[in-house]
Subunit: 166 residues, 2 copies
DNA sequence: CGTGAAAAGATTGCCGC
DNA sequence: GCGGCAATCTTTTCACG
């Protein structure tokens, strides 16, 4: 499961589905150069083995009324493993927190948050995040504007790297 | 286009497709409580009007060989508009940079980067990012582990908020 | 992996509200 | 404007080589 090797076709499938996750299987099969049935079998295998974790429509958050996007840097009082996972679980329970990553360096976690407006975010910040158990410090930065937002990974780099090794 | 109002069915469609972007249209229609043809028409309209910006398979970056994920905080020398957009365009040209957001506060931009390994990232950091025109400072933080990574927006919050207003 | 056939889904046109 | 029905075409899916 972990170290499973993917061949060139599998990687092409992943790249295509990352770029357009709603492509039909026949179209996908055509692009990767095999017929539809084996192509679908590969996709199922990639899903089952966890290489594909899901499919998501990318929505326009601002158009939908989420005007505010914020990065929050969080420092904890205790970095004991139990306290780290406790904070992670807290983040998972907060809908406004879309991403939570543990970092090295001065700060312990970075959170990406969205909110309909500033006051909603402020009340979350003061009422939930800053006042949560074990949270020592929170520094927030508002996103003024987004310049790039590409989900996933650059498959070009992967292929380039593989062709150098091969 | 901009201020177009969505009804409850449209919002349900968006929520469902955000959760599972590869759902069939009949399944989607069943879930939102209308028949397939009007459901498909709504989806097309949502795509054309930009509420849906695309569909993407979510891949496991680590399994795919992108072991390194880094947040980079970038400060620029000049924050004149032309210099800001120049830096944004630079970020768009770098495959390792997946996200670039302009921030308020001390730092000008936050970048989310991925790389196959540390040395690849380091050479990007020193060779491209730090040495780019107009870049004054770069502070990087390695992601030790990911705790939450939900694309999109919390539709629950949206509905809750709309029901309070209604 | 491919072929072929059967089932399911997508899509269009038309009707009524 | 909206959704539903029915016909048609495409895609998915399975059995088999």
């Amino acid at each position: 499961m972990a170290g499973t090797r993917l061949d060139a076709i599998d990687r092409k499938i992943l790249a295509e589905l990352q770029a357009d996750g709603r492509m039909t299987n026949v179209e996908l099969a055509k692009r990767v150069g095999i017929s539809a049935p084996p192509c679908l079998r590969r996709v199922r295998t990639l899903e089952d083995s966890g290489f594909i974790k899901g499919y998501h429509a990318q929505v326009d958050s601002r158009e939908l009324g989420f005007e505010v996007q914020v990065f929050a840097m969080v420092g904890l009082v205790s970095q004991a493993e139990a306290d780290l996972t406790a904070f992670e679980n807290l983040c998972r329970s907060w809908p406004l927190v879309r991403e939570c990553h543990m970092l090295n360096g001065e700060v312990d976690f970075i959170l990406k948050c969205v909110a309909p407006d500033l006051s909603t975010f402020q009340s979350f910040l003061t009422g939930q995040l800053t006042s949560a158990e074990n949270v020592a410090s929170v520094k927030t930065s508002l996103v003024i504007r987004g310049a790039k937002d590409e989900p996933g990974v650059p498959f070009d780099i992967l292929e380039e790297r593989l062709s150098r090794t091969a």
